[in-house]
Symmetry: C2
């Protein structure tokens, strides 16, 4: 073929760029662990040491960023929001504590200390901190296999505190080592399916409270629970059922009102407290306990007792707590970060996932020392906080103060809260988490995403929460690896009237160039897909060869569009070398177009460019095609001369 001068090409591929190993390692580590470049604000400042220190401190204590600028007008908003979420925190705290099988008072404790800690370390202005349903249930189902909450209530409670401690530790470590990347592997589809499934099984659990059952199952799957409900039909209490219906209607009406008249969101926000108060009055009036309306019972007055000495750091309970803490902590983290992010987005603010993890971690560790169990930023409460017009984390402080007042003086009032009211509150809260609309959307847009979502949903509903989550994440990762292992390749043609080369399948009117096959290689070429790409290229070449033969021509050139190849590794380069050799034997010349920076560097280092010949690397496909045409013409001329 000889050397060819290509006057057509107007610019050449830059083959001389080099990045040192350390520079590229530094860049990669930075992108992997500091994608948000958290200290970029600092480097903008002129080097004023004091200001720099302050800026550094306020990175770790976000309170320093907002507190000095705090104004009375802001406080007015935060006060209103804080009181609103406090009214929600009391019934939710008691309900979710029941869900986790811990005494109701623990739910109130958990709405006091953690919000205060979060106000200091948290960076989200919208998050309202407190216990959360899914993680509560998960915690209970992980621990109750080893420690029975009925037979060893003290030990169970201490194990729950220990789990909260490990949750905090995990979250802190995640945050410090910037492992936010792990949470990225929970896709939106997984979360939708998992939340929907969890909400479903939590609703199923509420049949116990709604119907006033005495006996129930410890399992969470739908088959066992429905069986337990039906098997214990004799225990169904009409009093509980009637009250349930009434409360459900009130709560659903309040929700409907909010949807119709968004201004009246506060009616919906205080409706749970309203139901608790109404229920308490009714239960007190009819002496409910004796008439088929079980009540919460005595609640101790006073603030959180210290629980640091109760942590179970000895086997065999440490492993139970560790496992429960890790799993439920991971879920709580995902929920908290997702909620914080979506609310921040509405206000066009930024949240820093890794910083939030540190805040959650410190908050849970502090909580585990003061009789709190696992807390995070639950969706329902945070949404109410947002709609109530919160401006800063101060709303969490207001809520904590309200809860403190309740703990100090008002707990006896909640003694008569009927369990059925709590069950109704949970059911309505959970209904909001089953996003049928989103699932329909998934089905329409992406069937595989829909499968991922359904795997989580049915896994949770029919087996248990861990299985659902693992199934769904497993499917997502297999899909990610399949994307890596089976990248798309396509044949390009020239779009009529332009110099652009595009996918022939997508633009069927495009024209091909006789004797030249142009292939677009999809993203990273490396060990996981190198074999596949070789097979696929071989097939393309064979098919094109047949097409050419029909037209009485030979396939002479193959152009690889490398523009979409973000990276290449040693196995990938080996594959390209093999393909080059294989095609060389068939007298087909290989040309590359538009390789990216990192790819060029590797190809040069591995001598591939030398083997191929610099003159066969082009900046654009149309340059490459001109080059091939020029070479073709030259060859024809030589043939004619020889004739």
């Amino acid at each position: 073929m000889g050397t060819i001068t290509l006057e057509q090409s107007r610019a050449n591929v830059n083959l001389s760029s080099r990045t040192t190993f350390w520079k590229s390692l530094k860049y990669q580590l930075k992108e992997a662990f500091f994608p948000d470049d958290p200290f970029r604000q600092m480097s903008d400042h002129p080097p004023a040491p004091l200001r720099r220190t302050w800026s550094f401190l306020s990175y770790f204590f976000p309170v320093l960023a907002w507190a000095p600028k705090y104004k009375p007008t802001l406080f007015a908003s935060d006060l209103l929001a804080g009181i609103t979420i406090a009214s929600l925190a009391i019934p939710q705290g008691i309900s979710y504590a029941k869900l986790a099988n811990v005494p109701p008072i623990i739910g109130l404790y958990s709405s006091f200390v953690p919000p205060l800690v979060y106000a200091v370390f948290g960076s989200s202005n919208n998050l309202a901190v407190g216990p959360v349903a899914a993680a509560s249930l998960l915690l209970a189902s992980s621990i109750r296999g080893k420690v029975s909450p009925e037979e060893q209530p003290e030990l169970y409670l201490h194990t729950v505190f220990t789990a909260a401690f490990f949750t905090g530790l995990l979250q802190l470590i995640f945050g410090i080592f910037r492992l936010g990347i792990l949470v990225d592997f929970l896709s939106r589809s997984t979360i939708t399916g998992f939340m929907g499934g969890t909400a479903t099984i939590i609703i199923l659990q509420q049949f116990k409270g709604l119907l006033g059952l005495q006996h129930f199952t410890n399992k969470t799957d739908i088959v066992t629970v429905l069986h337990a409900v039906l098997a214990n039909r004799r225990e169904w209490k009409w009093q509980s059922a009637v009250l349930s219906l009434g409360f459900l209607v009130i709560l659903l009406l309040a929700r409907r009102l909010k949807e119709k008249v968004p201004r009246l969101f506060w009616v919906n926000a205080i409706s749970p407290l309203l139901v608790v108060v109404m229920g308490g009055v009714i239960a007190f009036a009819v002496d409910g306990k004796d008439h088929g309306i079980p009540i919460v019972g005595d609640l101790k007055k006073g603030l959180n007792p210290i629980s640091i000495s109760q942590l179970q750091l000895k086997s065999p309970y440490i492993s139970v707590a560790l496992k429960a803490g890790l799993i439920s902590g991971f879920i709580a983290l995902a929920e908290g970060i997702a909620v914080g992010r979506s609310l921040a987005l509405l206000k066009n603010e930024q949240t820093d996932g890794n910083k939030e993890m540190i805040a959650f971690g410190i908050m849970n560790i502090a909580g585990s020392f003061t009789s709190c169990y696992l807390t995070t930023g639950p969706f329902s409460k945070s949404a109410v906080n947002y709609h109530a017009g919160c401006k800063t984390p101060m709303s969490n402080v207001v809520m904590a103060v309200c809860i403190m007042l309740v703990l100090l003086w008002l707990t006896p009032l909640f003694k008569y809260t009927p369990l059925v009211a709590l069950a109704a509150i949970i059911v309505v809260a959970m209904l909001g988490l089953i996003e049928l609309h989103e699932m329909k959307h998934l089905f329409k847009v992406d069937k595989f995403d829909f499968c991922v979502c359904m795997a989580a949903f049915f896994g949770v509903v029919f087996v248990n929460m861990e299985v659902g989550l693992l199934l769904s994440v497993g499917l997502s990762i297999i899909r990610a690896l399949l994307h890596v292992a089976r990248p798309t390749t396509c044949k390009l043609g020239k779009v009529t009237g332009t110099e652009l080369y595009r996918d022939l399948e997508h633009y069927p009117d495009s024209t091909t160039i006789p004797g030249v096959l142009i292939l677009q290689l999809g993203s990273p070429i490396y060990f996981a897909n190198a074999n596949y790409l070789r097979e696929r290229i071989t097939r393309w070449v064979e098919a094109e060869g047949n097409i050419c033969k029909e037209k009485g021509q030979d396939l002479q050139y193959i152009v690889f569009d490398m523009g979409g190849v973000a990276a290449i590794d040693n196995t990938g380069i080996g594959m390209l070398l093999e393909v080059h050799r294989m095609l060389g034997k068939k007298e087909i010349q290989v040309a590359l177009t538009n390789p990216r920076l990192r790819v060029v560097e590797k190809l040069v280092a591995a001598n591939f460019i030398d083997v191929l010949g610099k003159e066969w690397v082009f900046l654009s496909i149309s340059d490459a095609v001109s080059g091939c045409r020029f070479a073709l013409r030259q060859a024809d001329n030589q043939d004619e001369l020889q004739v």
Copy 2:
């Protein structure tokens, strides 16, 4: 901003393409499991049923493809190659059987039945079948933890047969279900490191034979082995050591000769047999057993006994055999396929990985029924086969016939083979597997690949083979996931003198367009990288905003080059929507260029195109820039009019 008519753009993005779910699922399954489209030959034929059936049968019995065309000239080549590899098969069979702790005769049995089976089912013309060093050692180290070859030799042997059975089953299942994709995850770097490490520990094991030691260790790691060699210094036998040295020199000289004069490769090929014969003569002459030269001992005459009734299909041994069979089978598979492929490549032939797996599977199952242990296509023997000029799998038949003759009449001759000769043969064979050159190349081209390689190497050398392999594959997969989770993005500029937009870092002379930021998004946008991309885009926008501000301008347009985005999922689309909303609040207009077919379909289905506006989707970056400029000018005109 209003609607804008863009006369500049010459062609539009095709937004109307739709692929049905089933069509796309079929396509994806085909690419995942039939990347080589094995039946494509058949569909080329005109529909002649008989020929079609024949073609179908010869897919499953490749022998039908070559046997009818077999010619005497081919046989001449195969005969020579077959005899050459048989001369290698005898000493290798005996040595590797020692490595697997099974009686030496099993190594000969394993070179008789499996090659015959492979000749019928195998599709590679170059592979020579037999036992292999790495898998033999792995098998021994997996089983000996549960069954001691010294104390329960019979049970141990039966477990080895059972492991071979499971290996065969695994390989057959892999082949039938077309799981060749799993082998793709063993990268070239992993294999280089793993082979190098295994060769190193196998060489270390040979100190026992080379020095004539009585006591040795069962562990394989370098620390324990060297300690055992030094601790037993008193047992070193000078006779063995002298013979070792002599044999090593002969073997190394033969290898050197082959390198210098490739024509004389056969000297190297028969040198192991030569060493065995010389060693046997010496040992017989000096009555070696009594003079510090341990010998192989009696070998039973006769062909393979049937071993089907000896398979241990009952617990507790079935689980040992299963585990050993799966791990060593996976390794053997990877080696066999890699060897077959690289040799085929030299002859410009094709091999079908999945078909090879089926052949290996049937061969190992048949082997386990006839007193053979795990076999595959070892590198050394296959390379000799190739150099000796083999043409078809018939060379395996010739080898098997030679071994049969040996088994029937000549086994007594090998009784006096000194162990030191076998050790020397193994050492020299293993030296060829430590590819220092390739490791150096890896270090130069890709430091991460080098780490993957070294993880396998040091893992194997310092811990054990499983750890080395898992470490290395784990690292590779983490890297693959990191590629997915942290795709590269870059800012593009116009290359001077062209209409092309390329990476500014790569082409620093390119010019940017004031007020317009052009970003190239790397490969698939989905759950694993959606969060990251949002952060990264935010950073790009912030940085560009600052640059614009310095010039007294506003950033008004952002163009996403989607040409490299091969796929998008629901989470990815959600991210784009969020980015669009976020930038909308900053009054920055988003434009997309050149989305691919699959991406367009999803974006349309998810209504993203409607939200963005069709007029902001362009076929090329220069169209998009023209569009933005046009809109800018219009806005300026309006401003002037208003002024």
